[in-house]
Amino acid sequence: CAFFTGKLNTGVDTIQHGVEGLMYLLTESSKLMISEIDFQDSIHVLGFSDELNKLLLQLYLDNRKEIRSILSELAPKLPSYHSLEWRLDVQLASRSLRQQIKPAVTIKLHLNQNEDQTAQVLQTDPSTLLHLIQQLEQALGEMKTNHCRRIARNMK
């Protein structure tokens, strides 16, 4: 701010207000995803020159996507899926029982939570694994049903 004060011959406060005003304009516009026309109408009342209005519009359109993706990070979130590793194991013996053949699938689930990555080790047996696959495939299929497609279409 001090740097620009010298260059533009105005007070520090003015520069700060200017920057904040610009930030607010761009953030609100991006958040609401307003159209070009609405944006132009909104800044028209500020009484700037046509050239400045054009510059502001361009600034909005160029940066809208990035601003929106940053804003989407602020939403309340659960841990999100990152990746999954798996391993097939067969338990052959334990302290309490010898001569076993017990197959198991060991899974390492990587999740993201607020910039931290956590890894959790889980295990399941073959029949549960097949059950999990069946259930999750059903979940994936849901988005393709008429009901969900209709809602997605009408919401836009």
């Binding site: 999100s80 334990s94 073959p126 549960t128 694994l129």
Partner: protein, 150 residues
């Protein structure tokens, strides 16, 4: 040990017998011993034929249940027992309007080998991420199938 038939016997002796029988049964179960091995072992302990036969018959009756019980003792990572999912369509947040995208919320029900219950593992994912997850689980299942055919 509270059985009225046994009240005439010295409690200390009774406890010894119980402990001995339990140890014998558990060792036989652990080693997956067959009936001839058990019979030989009991013969060495100077039990008569009738008692050995009775013991072996009872053991045979309960052998499978015993093996299941012994096999379930031990530590293992959290065990997944079930999965539930929720599909939602996001419209807006207070920071961002018009988001319009589907997202899945998946909950894995898990069990601890020690205490039996554990908070479930929940996470959100996009459709692509869920496809990745299901793809990897299917790879694991295919591997299992191949392993069983070897």
């Amino acid at each position: 040990l509270d059985d009225p038939d046994l009240k005439d016997i010295d409690p200390a002796v009774l406890k010894h017998c119980h402990a001995a029988a339990a140890t014998c049964i558990l060792e036989a179960g652990k080693q997956k011993a067959d009936l001839s091995a058990i019979s030989t072992c009991l013969e060495d302990c100077k039990l008569d034929k009738e008692r050995i036969e009775q013991f072996c018959t009872e053991y045979q009756k309960n052998k499978d249940a015993l093996e299941i019980l012994l096999g379930s003792i031990g530590r293992s990572p959290l065990h997944i027992t079930d999965v539930s999912w929720r599909l939602e369509y996001q419209i807006k947040t207070n920071q961002l309007h018009k988001t319009y995208q589907p997202s899945y919320l998946v909950t894995l029900n898990v069990e601890n080998s020690d205490s039996g219950s554990h908070p479930d593992v929940s996470f959100s994912c996009t459709m692509e991420q869920l496809q990745d997850l299901v793809g990897k689980l299917k790879d694991a299942a295919k591997s299992l199938e191949r392993a069983t055919q070897m």
